[in-house]
């Protein structure tokens, strides 16, 4: 039976195409398709479109998704020590504050003289202005702090006397050569600004010239190393090429011998 109601009916066409729907409807449409060339053509075209869809495959990819629960951090005994999340500038400011407070509490004193850099803390006894207070004398000047009967006390005193004996003549000699230097080192009087600047310039110049010398030395060393490496590589390459040439020559020689042998054999047979 050719039911004209099914002709071009999307509902029926889709049910038949995807094989969904009741059997009676399907049988009825099959009969219609047999008698209706238009619907048969349409059905063939829709099946062709479905064939095309089968060719469309997504690319292979690694998925492997997982749900992972975040575990809360365990608060240990020293959890209060943990630095909370704060921006870098805040951490930097906190660190600077701590250092500043520490310096303030310790009474840090920095001195720069001919004998180098001196760093003292406020816990040491301040030297009276105009007096010489060598660092080695500090321990001996505190006899009441610890027991004076300690065995190391006598050794330390002896060491102090020896150092005084050694440093005394040197200081005198240095003072005759560069008077300002010793005075500045002992803190007897303050350097004038010109003297201080001159001294700084001297030190800077000396440092620069030393750095230049070191740089020149290192450059020379690097150039020498590079040149040595280059010569070594060239020698290796030459050796390798020579070996290759030798091998090639040997192969050619072997082939030539083989050819000669073949020629001789063939001539004998003739």
């Amino acid at each position: 039976m050719n039911d004209r109601r099914d002709c071009g009916n999307a509902d029926v066409l889709m049910s038949y195409l995807y094989d969904e729907g009741d059997a009676a409807e399907r049988q009825r449409f099959e009969a219609h398709l047999a008698a209706c060339p238009a619907c048969a053509t349409e059905m063939a075209q829709l099946r062709g479109a479905r064939d095309g869809l089968r060719a469309w495959t997504p690319p292979e990819t690694v998925l492997d998704f997982r749900i992972v629960r975040d575990t809360p951090p365990v608060r240990g005994r020293f959890a209060w020590l943990a630095v909370p999340q704060m921006p870098a500038w805040a951490q930097l400011a906190a660190a600077a504050l701590v250092v500043g407070v520490s310096v303030g509490i310790s009474g840090l004193e920095v001195q720069y003289g001919a004998q180098g850099l001196h760093v003292r803390t406020g816990w040491q006894q301040a030297a009276a202005p105009g007096t010489v207070q060598p660092r080695v004398a500090f321990a001996a000047a505190q006899p009441s702090v610890s027991g004076s009967d300690a065995p190391w006390r006598a050794e330390l005193t002896a060491l102090e006397q020896r150092l005084r004996g050694e440093l005394g003549p040197q200081a005198v000699a240095a003072s005759s050569a560069q008077p300002g230097r010793v005075v500045a080192a002992r803190g007897g009087r303050a350097m004038s600004d010109e003297e201080f600047l001159g001294r700084v310039r001297q030190l800077i110049e000396a440092s620069e010239s030393r750095q230049q010398r070191e740089l020149a030395l290192r450059i020379t060393q690097a150039v020498r190393d590079f040149d040595t490496k280059r010569r070594t590589d060239l020698a290796r390459m030459a050796d390798g090429l020579g070996a290759l040439e030798g091998r090639t020559g040997a192969v050619v020689s072997q082939q030539r011998d083989m050819l000669n042998y073949l020629v001789r054999v063939s001539q004998r047979q003739q």
């Binding site: 053509t41 479109a49 060719a55 690319p59």
Partner: protein, 198 residues
């Protein structure tokens, strides 16, 4: 023993995340295929899949089992794809991923070894189909994808798309008709798809 989706959902709701991971393992490929065919870009499809599972996991306590878990997941994915394409404002296109030979994208046939001509022809057709599909309206494309590649019934698609069953069939019919014409126009119609236009 293989647990059903519903059993795994129940365990996940009770706090067993391993059960949800089993659901992910079971459904990540189909969801990825759906997202890829909707969006057309591998990386974006992967992002959508990840987002879909995350949303599903978070919304799991509210999932009362009115629909199948897979249908619910498909709906989440399609919504995310739609949002993505609206937000992205870019014309979707399909391209092979970096470092992948396009000929390798064709699935291996267990029965016989395809000739290189067959592989190239199928790949050519695949690219044409991808482009043709992306010319369809979102609802028609979704209906075809769910029917062709995920085997949903008309009724399931209707529930998922929130429309009458007859509308689903109309969308399928119109979508397939436009697809067939588009392939014909591109000269890539498979055998049977050519012929008189109706």
């Amino acid at each position: 023993m293989t647990l059903t989706d519903e059993e795994l959902v129940a365990r996940s709701v009770a706090g067993d995340s391993d059960s949800f991971n089993q659901l992910i393992l079971r459904w990540e490929r189909p969801i990825y295929a759906l997202a890829y065919r909707q969006i057309g870009r591998e990386e974006d499809a992967r992002d959508v899949v990840q987002d879909a599972f995350l949303r599903a996991f978070r919304a799991l306590p509210g999932f009362k089992g009115q629909a199948k878990f897979s249908s619910w997941l498909y709906r989440i994915t399609l919504n995310l794809c739609r949002d993505f394409m609206r937000r992205d404002r870019r014309a979707p296109f399909v391209q092979p991923p970096d470092g992948v030979d396009i000929a390798e994208l064709v699935p291996a046939d267990t029965g016989h070894v395809d000739s290189i001509e067959d592989v190239v022809a199928r790949d050519d057709l695949s690219r044409h189909v991808a482009k043709a599909m992306l010319t369809l309206p979102d609802e028609q494309r979704s209906a075809i994808l769910l029917k062709e590649y995920h085997g949903l019934t008309f009724q399931e698609i209707a529930e998922l798309q929130g429309c009458p069953l007859s509308t689903v069939k109309t969308r399928l019919y119109q979508g397939l008709t436009v697809l067939r014409r588009e392939l014909q126009r591109r000269g890539a119609a498979p055998a049977g798809a050519t012929g008189r236009s109706s």
